[in-house]
Symmetry: C2
Subunit: 124 residues, 2 copies
DNA sequence: CCGAATCCCGATCGATACTG
DNA sequence: CAGTATCGATCGGGATTCGG
């Protein structure tokens, strides 16, 4: 195996907990997983729900999440294509934490904005 | 102003809550902020604490966090240089959420590993 | 018609060496 | 000890094309 798994330590780059963190540390994953918390969605619906995401990045991120067992992909094998994505139990547990992060951003972004402006003013 | 601030909605790419999320969605920010939760640290100590980070990325990320009011930089103006970083109250509140994320990764990475292996096996 | 794969470019990252 | 500069490698993301 590639990594020594001692105990889970995200500060150890050789621990695969770090891989897990890097998977999560993606702005799209942080939006996709919470979006799926309310129930299964088609790829087109996700594309509309998540503003600013491209089809490519959506598919790419979903594949990565599927690969790691966080998202389950269900292809209805119909014409026209109908593909649904839903959270696995593992994905749902992660989604809970990510929802908290999203809510933090939605609550505190004005303070970040203000700090940025203060910072710029200070250097002018 | 660049973005219409309606209400905080991370799903709206024109809301600066999205900017906040993108700032957070960095593997280094996710390690730096929790690392500072235990108290102020010097830059060298952070470099040692956070495995795999380069001096460049550490400085760069710290600057970004400082710019957004999450981290406070204190230069002791001595020779040799002594610079300390510590969380602002805002940064501390974010750190709490990030700690939860880190702990999720440390708890569940074996399940991700297993899922990846299952995925590979399925396609072989 | 919907979802995925390919090509291509700019932005970003990381290693190393250097400055104050 | 803290930060910067440079450069090659890598990644993100859009436009386009493919396939069912």
């Amino acid at each position: 195996m590639a990594k020594t798994q001692k105990s889970g330590d995200v500060y150890d780059p050789s621990c695969s907990a770090r891989d897990a963190l890097e998977l999560i540390a993606s702005k799209w994953a942080m939006l996709i997983l919470p979006a799926l918390a309310d129930g299964p969605m088609r790829s087109g619906a996700l594309l509309r729900r998540i503003g600013g995401v491209s089809q490519k990045m959506l598919t790419q991120t979903l594949r990565e999440l599927e690969k790691n067992g966080l998202v389950i992909r269900q292809d209805m094998q119909t014409v026209p294509p109908h593909v649904e994505y839903r959270l696995s139990p593992l994905g749902a547990s992660l989604s809970d934490v990510l929802v908290a992060l999203d809510r933090w951003a939605e609550l505190h972004f004005p303070e970040l904005d203000a700090a940025r402006e203060r910072f710029l003013r200070r250097r002018s």
